[in-house]
């Protein structure tokens, strides 16, 4: 990779979801196919079902304020939902995304620790993440061995052999972690936190369904 993508594609200090996803996909982390409403990119074809989300850096926890509607099946429903979302969040961006089929929900993230610098996290994702606390940290940059150890430290490893019809390939998660580690190095100490939660993994397919980035306030 030539140069830092974060420099080539400068992101504002408080990027919205759409901007964060563009940044991570530039690093090769897959995200759902999506369209930002009223951005002139409408010609892109999305397949139903889709999700409508508010994309606004001020709204970190979208679902708690009615900022996410899932399972939209047709054009009519979509038009209604978009206009309702616009009414609920005047001035905010609206994102339409293809819905991911079921898979394992994991969380991956970065945080800048005062004592250890940037660290990377991997764990079981979804709504119970903070209840089960099945997460593991490493300092970035990480090696391939570190990535393997991270997977072995959390329950994600169980899904390699398959569990209740869900199976994940280790290589996809190693790849995700190594790319995230690269992002951590590129952003450096400007980073405050980055959350990819959930990332949906299905076999060797991976998709960061939600992405949030907070950079440090410049003093």
């Amino acid at each position: 990779m030539k140069g830092k993508i974060s420099e080539m594609m400068p992101i504002e200090r408080n990027p919205d979801e759409y901007a964060v996803k563009r940044m991570i996909s530039a690093y090769g982390i897959p995200t759902p196919k999506s369209v930002l409403v009223d951005s002139g990119e409408r010609e892109m074809e999305l397949e139903f079902p889709v999700v409508v989300k508010v994309s606004d850096p001020k709204i970190l926890h979208k679902s708690e304020v009615g900022g996410v509607t899932i399972g939209i099946r047709d054009q009519k429903q979509l038009a209604e939902e978009v206009s309702q979302m616009k009414a609920r969040f005047p001035g905010s961006g609206i994102l339409v995304e293809e819905m991911e089929n079921g898979g394992l929900e994991i969380i991956a993230g970065l945080v800048n620790d005062r004592n250890f610098g940037n660290v990377i996290m991997l764990g079981m994702g979804g709504i119970y993440t903070e209840l089960y606390h099945d997460v593991v940290f490493r300092l970035t940059p990480i090696s391939r061995t570190d990535a393997e150890d991270m997977i072995d430290s959390v329950k994600i490893r169980v899904f390699e052999k398959g569990f209740r019809g869900i199976r994940v390939e280790r290589e996809a998660i190693i790849d995700l972690l190594l790319k995230l580690s690269l992002i951590s190095e590129d952003i450096g100490s400007d980073l405050d936190m980055l959350d990819l939660n959930p990332v949906i993994v299905n076999g060797d397919q991976i998709s960061a369904v939600d992405a949030k980035l907070i950079l440090k306030e410049l003093a």
Binding site: L110, N115, F116, V119, D149, D152
Partner: protein, 461 residues
């Protein structure tokens, strides 16, 4: 850098006292009792001599270059004493006194004053607020607890650094009971100048130190500490007992990753990444440091268990099969050939399956033969041997047998249950540097620690 600290020509005790209740008396007595072969200079203007040693009014009056000065004076007079020591050319100061940064702004001022003196000199400082050092190979004991209260361990292979003085002293007392030795005990106190990393440099090149055990509560520069211990672990094993596991992150976090980034979860990940085995109490700290100091590395995780008591074998199997973490152990599957050979040694009602049970009929010479067989089985990576003294056929000779096989072949950890004869067995195993533990759980966990470290080394070589 610290070499002179470990082989000083002379030691001054500034604040030495005749009063047996004073720390300045205990330290002087400890230093004399430890058999320090160099010159000892008590310093106190009130006495002409203490304990038949000529006493000097000030460090400047000694008139002989002093390698180490131990300072046991009230905090407020310490800066002046430090200045005197620097002008007298003292190489190392060990400030036992408390009352510095740990007590508030006044103490902090004294502390800052000392630091600026040290920074502008060639003198190095350990402390303040330390219980002292115990360096058995150099016959140096500058700790503030008397031999009537605690025992001090013999010279050995574990470097021991403790942020808590009391925990360090009591742990040394506990391990002395089994003759477990250390290469040095260091309590850094407030770490104003010398910190862990410099002692790690020393221990890394010290041929007598096989492993290092650290008890710590905090680390000043986490990133630098990580880099240092990772390099250390690629040469020698470092076990860390980190307290404060339940303390939560001080930062309020708006994202999940931040919310789950407690200080301990990051510290824990950092330790794994750096190849350090983590201990959760003072017993594990020394248990793991011993197995890592005495054993070869394991090439895999498959354990054969050898016992004369079925129950002990079954409990071991439970612990081994249930071991968790990134690098779990497993019970070895013995080859048919191995089992056939074992059957020729044991009684018909014994078990040639793993765990191998020789029953109460198992003798020391049977152990010798079975160990020989297990050493040749490529599907066995390490052996857990039980030396159980309840039967007359298991005598002290088992130590020789285990020693012979451990030297020649794969790693062996020994479990010894009971007390009456078991205690003697444990002491004898320890004397031969064979890792032996008085419980099933501790034996299996120590094997786990050895495997975890071995796996780190295998990848990083």
């Amino acid at each position: 850098m610290l070499d002179d600290l470990f082989s000083p020509a002379s030691i001054a005790i500034i604040g030495a006292s005749r009063d047996e209740n004073k720390i300045g008396n205990v330290i002087l007595r400890n230093l004399v009792s430890s058999g320090f072969p160099g010159r000892i200079y008590p310093v106190n203007p009130s006495y002409p001599e203490i304990m038949d040693l000529k006493c000097y009014p000030s460090v400047k009056d000694i008139g002989d270059p002093t390698t180490i000065a131990v300072i046991v004076l009230p905090a407020r007079v310490v800066p002046q004493t430090v200045e005197d020591c620097i002008s007298a050319g003292v190489k190392f100061l060990i400030i036992i006194s408390g009352g510095f940064a740990e007590t508030g702004p006044e103490g902090k001022k004294l502390s800052d004053r000392i630091l600026s003196l040290i920074r502008n000199s060639r003198t190095r400082l350990i402390g303040p607020n330390t219980v002292g050092l115990y360096l058995p190979y150099s016959n140096i004991n500058t700790t503030l607890t008397s031999y009537s209260r605690v025992s001090f361990p013999p010279p050995g292979n574990i470097g021991f650094i403790s942020q808590s003085g009391a925990l360090g002293l009591l742990t040394m007392d506990a391990i002395s009971e089994y003759g477990i030795g250390i290469s040095a005990f260091i309590n850094l106190g407030n770490r104003l100048d010398v910190d862990e990393t410099e002692f790690l440099d020393f221990f890394e090149s010290d041929s007598r130190t096989g492993s290092v055990a650290i008890y710590m509560e905090s680390v000043a520069d986490g990133r630098a500490f990580y880099e240092r211990i990772r390099r250390f672990n690629s040469r020698k094993p470092l076990v860390i007992l980190k307290a404060g596991r339940t303390a939560q992150s001080a930062v309020a976090a708006s994202l999940h990753t931040g919310a789950m980034a407690s200080n301990d979860s990051i510290f824990d990940g950092m330790l794994s990444q750096a190849g350090s085995v983590r201990a959760y109490d003072e017993t594990e700290l020394v248990d793991y440091a011993r197995v890592l100091a005495y054993s070869k590395l394991m090439t895999g995780n498959r354990i054969a268990v050898l016992t004369t008591a079925g129950g002990v074998g079954v409990i071991s199997t439970d612990y081994i099969s249930d071991s968790r973490g990134i690098k779990p152990l497993q019970m070895a599957r013995l080859s048919e050939n191995t089992k056939d050979q074992i059957r020729k040694v044991i009684v018909p009602y014994g078990s040639a399956e793993n765990p191998i049970d020789l029953t109460a009929d198992g003798s020391v010479s049977d152990y010798d033969r079975v160990l020989e067989i297990l050493m040749r089985d490529d599907d066995v990576d390490a052996i857990l041997v039980y030396a159980l003294p309840q039967t007359p056929k298991m005598d002290m000779g088992v130590v020789d047998v285990v020693e012979k096989h451990m030297k020649a072949g794969k790693p062996i950890v020994v479990g010894v249950l009971g007390y009456k004869i078991a205690k003697q067995l444990l002491v004898e195993f320890e004397r031969r540097k064979i890792p032996a533990y008085p419980s099933v759980n501790r034996s299996v966990k120590s094997l786990g620690a050895l495997y975890g470290y071995s796996a780190f080394r295998r990848v990083r070589q």
